[in-house]
């Protein structure tokens, strides 16, 4: 048992120090485009859409990335032009506190009820 633990610890410490997030620009570009919702065909992301609008957005994202803007700055730029709606990933703000926290709250609440009702009430 102990040997396993030691192997495990050594392995982890060897392995993880090399793990860095190293995303290429092309990958980032696709990630951004997939996260932007198309205004013309509204069920699709810009990445999947072939509308004129999607084409323009693709161009501008490329341009902004080459200008050195970060992912978040590009989202902010687009949100400023088209509103929060344009991004598929809803930010954490006063409009979305409930959206993000309610599922987590329910999870812990359900856990608490479960323990109270079933484990301790024998």
């Amino acid at each position: 048992m102990k040997i396993f633990k030691i192997i495990l610890i050594v392995f982890f410490s060897l392995g993880f120090y090399q793990l860095k997030s190293d995303e290429k620009t092309a990958a980032i570009e696709i990630k951004i485009l997939k996260n932007i919702r198309c205004l013309i065909c509204q069920g699709q992301s810009v990445h999947d859409s072939e509308s004129e609008f999607a084409f323009s957005i693709k161009q501008i994202v490329k341009k902004k990335i080459s200008e050195g803007l970060k992912e978040k700055q590009i989202y902010d730029f687009l949100k400023d032009k088209y509103g929060e709606w344009i991004v598929y990933d809803p930010g954490f703000n006063k409009n979305t506190y409930i959206l993000w926290l309610l599922p987590l709250l329910l999870f812990f609440l359900a856990g608490a009820i479960m323990i109270k009702k079933l484990i301790f009430k024998k």
Partner: protein, 173 residues
């Protein structure tokens, strides 16, 4: 007693959801960006339609003048419908019309202008559509009104018509 309370709470919650969904049915499902009042004009560089020279946005828009920025294209059908109204607006001294030629072929665009007349004091080329994104547009035609303080104060999505012309006249008075 406790059960009854839970039941009433649940039914209350259900009714709340019912009302929300009922109201939600009437809402328009297609999203249109809100018109945020008083936005600054974006800073950009664009090619001039006639001279083919790059100009900075600061040189185009001057303080103390109303501007109307119109995004158009020769392949866009509604642009043909709104063209006569733009020609009418041209006669007003208090507003200058700037055209933004959106993803077009230069020849087609020139033919369009020659055929229907040129309402614009200046036309800029937006060959890849990025310029119109800077303005916050997402289709053709779209029209923006810029006030004397160089702020975008109004935006019209779709072709201009009689009613909108009247509205614009009121603004620029």
């Amino acid at each position: 007693m406790k059960n009854k309370f839970i039941l009433f709470a649940l039914i209350g919650f259900l009714s709340f959801c019912f009302v929300i969904f009922y109201k939600g049915l009437d809402n328009i499902k297609i999203y249109k960006p809100k018109i945020n009042n008083k936005k600054d004009i974006p800073v950009f560089r664009a090619k001039d339609f006639n001279s083919n020279i790059y100009i900075d946005s600061e040189k185009i828009f001057e303080k103390g003048n109303f501007y109307l920025v119109n995004i158009w294209s020769s392949w866009c059908v509604p642009c043909r419908d709104e063209h006569p109204f733009l020609m009418k607006l041209k006669e007003h001294q208090s507003v200058r019309l700037i055209g933004l030629n959106y993803r077009d072929k230069l020849n087609n665009a020139k033919n369009f202008i020659n055929e229907f007349g040129n309402p614009y004091t200046k036309i800029l080329i937006d060959s890849d559509g990025t310029l119109s994104v800077e303005f916050g547009a997402y289709g053709v035609p779209e029209t923006f009104i810029i006030n004397k303080d160089k702020k975008i104060i109004k935006k019209f999505i779709g072709p201009i018509n009689e009613k909108i012309v009247e509205e614009i006249k009121l603004i620029i008075k």
